[in-house]
């Protein structure tokens, strides 16, 4: 070995460069010698493989029979129980699985163990010559020449115009896909109707809630009065207007200026639609006063007007201003003061319009 301490390059002399020429003359190793399978040499093994394939096909037959028996023999009459349905489901599934897998595995095993397995090598096709390409270019040129598109600009230009205009009817058709949502996202059923404030009612039966019913620590799932009576668009309206109603000690709420009269004796109502992507936020912890969204773990603090304290949500949950009517039932004094739910394109503009 060379002396490393003087910094000189180390030439041991064993790293020869002469081998490069030999690499260019790399020998084609060819196909490895054919190895015979057990079934090729031993008739007993071949017989065994044959039986195995037959057995696999037989499994498929049994699977089909199981399916047919399960379908026709198991009675799903009026007096059948869920256990019967489950039994039939399981047998249909097992039957189909064996019927398909039996055929598939049988064919593969047949091919692998018994069919001839001699290797075949195919030569590559010769690479196409330049002449072929030239011929193709000539064909295209001929077409252009024969159509005379270069000589007749009137035809060319009218064709271009026609093709450019043809998609326009599609735009008109897209316009018929549905009414534009406009600011439907910014309004909910909570808005007072004909001067009558909407009562807060229980989900699902729609009975009104008295303030006295909401004891400390309670959580009520609330829908607006009249939602159950809607004939169409009920789910769309429900998706925007669901509210969670909770009662805390009034000292624990810290309302910001202007929001002091949105709560009633510690009873607060917040939109249940997460401001992240709109999952229902309804996991209420009555000791910590946290609201948790089950989809992405956004956490809202009820004592800070549902400020986001964890997770991907970007805005607090909208609060519904509530009061009590003459009969002691909880009512919404107005709609939400901002669009509920996740962000959308015109949201800020809609929020400005609401508060204008």
């Amino acid at each position: 070995m060379g002396n490393h301490s003087d910094g000189s390059p180390n030439h041991s002399g064993t790293v020869a460069t002469a081998g490069q020429n030999e690499v260019e003359k790399f020998q084609d190793p060819g196909i490895p010698p054919h190895r015979l399978r057990l079934a090729d040499t031993d008739p007993k093994a071949a017989k065994r493989a044959e039986r195995q394939v037959a057995l696999l096909f037989g499994t498929s037959v049994v699977g089909t029979l199981i399916f047919l028996v399960a379908y026709f023999a198991i009675d799903l009459g009026d007096d059948s129980t869920i256990a019967t349905i489950r039994l039939q489901n399981a047998l249909l599934g097992i039957g189909t699985a064996f019927a398909m897998l039996g055929i598939g595995t049988g064919i593969v095993h047949w091919a692998k163990a018994l069919m001839p397995d001699h290797e075949v090598s195919e030569e590559r096709h010769a690479i196409r010559t330049e002449d072929d390409r030239q011929a193709a270019v000539r064909i295209v040129d001929d077409i252009v020449e024969e159509t005379g598109i270069k000589r007749r600009p009137l035809i060319r230009n009218t064709l271009l115009g026609a093709v450019a205009l043809a998609p326009l009817p599609a735009l008109a058709v897209f316009g018929d896909l549905g009414p534009r949502p406009d600011d439907a996202l910014a309004h909910t059923m909570w808005a007072p109707q004909d001067g009558k404030l909407k009562r807060l009612t229980r989900d699902p039966d729609g009975t009104p809630i008295k303030a006295a019913d909401v004891t400390i620590g309670s959580a009520f799932h609330v829908i607006p009065e009249g939602l159950n009576e809607l004939n169409e668009g009920k789910l769309n309206e429900k998706a925007k207007s669901v509210v969670l109603l909770m009662r805390l000690n009034p000292e624990e709420l810290h309302p910001s200026p202007g929001r002091a009269d949105w709560a009633y004796n510690g009873i607060v109502a917040y939109s249940k639609i997460c401001t992240h992507v709109g999952c229902p936020v309804a996991l209420y912890e009555q000791q910590t006063h946290h609201l948790l969204c089950p989809c992405h773990q956004s956490t809202f603090d009820l004592t800070q007007e549902c400020k986001v304290i964890f997770g991907p949500a970007s805005r607090p949950l909208p609060q519904l201003p509530i009061a009590v009517d003459a009969e002691g039932y909880l009512v919404a004094t107005s709609d939400f003061h901002e669009p509920v739910g996740p962000s959308y394109w015109e949201r800020e503009q809609h929020e400005r319009n609401i508060n204008a």
Binding site: R35, R37, L38, A39, A49, I82, I85, R86, N89, A90, V108, K112, A113, R202, D203, P204, I209, K210, A212, D213, V214, T215, I216, G217, S218, A219, F220, H221, M246, P280, A282, L283, Y284, E285, Q286, Q287, T288, H290, L292, P294, Q297, T299, F310
Partner: protein
Amino acid sequence: MKALSQKRRHPLAAIALLLMGLLVTGGLYAVATTVNQAKATTTFSANDAEEGGKLFESNCATCHGMGASGTQDGPSLVGVGAAAVDFQVGTGRMPMQMNGPQAPKKPVQFNDEQTHQLAAYVASLGPGPSIPEANVLDGQGDAAKGGELFRVNCAMCHNAAAAGGALTRGKFAPALSGVSSKHIYEAMVTGPQNMPVFNDANLSPEGKRDIITFLKQIEANGSPGGADLGSLGPVSEGLFVWIAGLGVIIAFTIWLTSRTS
């Protein structure tokens, strides 16, 4: 009758009538608005409360204070009612073993009689929800209605298949299979730990009975689609498909490309 008709012109008759009317109205109103009040129907003897008081002082007073008035380490138990004690002690959650995000279920530390005595003592401190009657626990309600109520009020924390779920900072909503009807009812009425309270004005006793019926029915019927993999949704099911499903596909591709001997 004669005496009445003679005295009806008495100067005090109007006052007496007014008083009677007020008393009847007030009494009826009190009866009508007891939906949130205790229904002291479970019978506790004075001896139960006395024995319970002794048990309380030796086992619970460290945290909940003498007379259950609460300390820094534990809340006051005045007015929580017998149902809260029966739930917390009957499921082993109390006495608490160690501080943590929440008190989990563990082997019970008091026998039925001692639990009964503790409940009697706490119930004697102030009115609160009582131990539910057997007629709301029979599981003979409307399971379909119960399922609807469960999905609206309970499923977001306890999972649509009642398999439980995670909450914030180490807390969790437990699975509900294997929980007795009585304890389910008591949990709804009292709102243990971070669970909200579902008083009788929110979910009527009939609604609670329906929910219990639904829970017992899905528990008895099991999973209609085969193995439920914990009913935890895409996490456990995805894990199963990635490991078992892809594993089978990989095994098949290896078999397809291998040589037979």
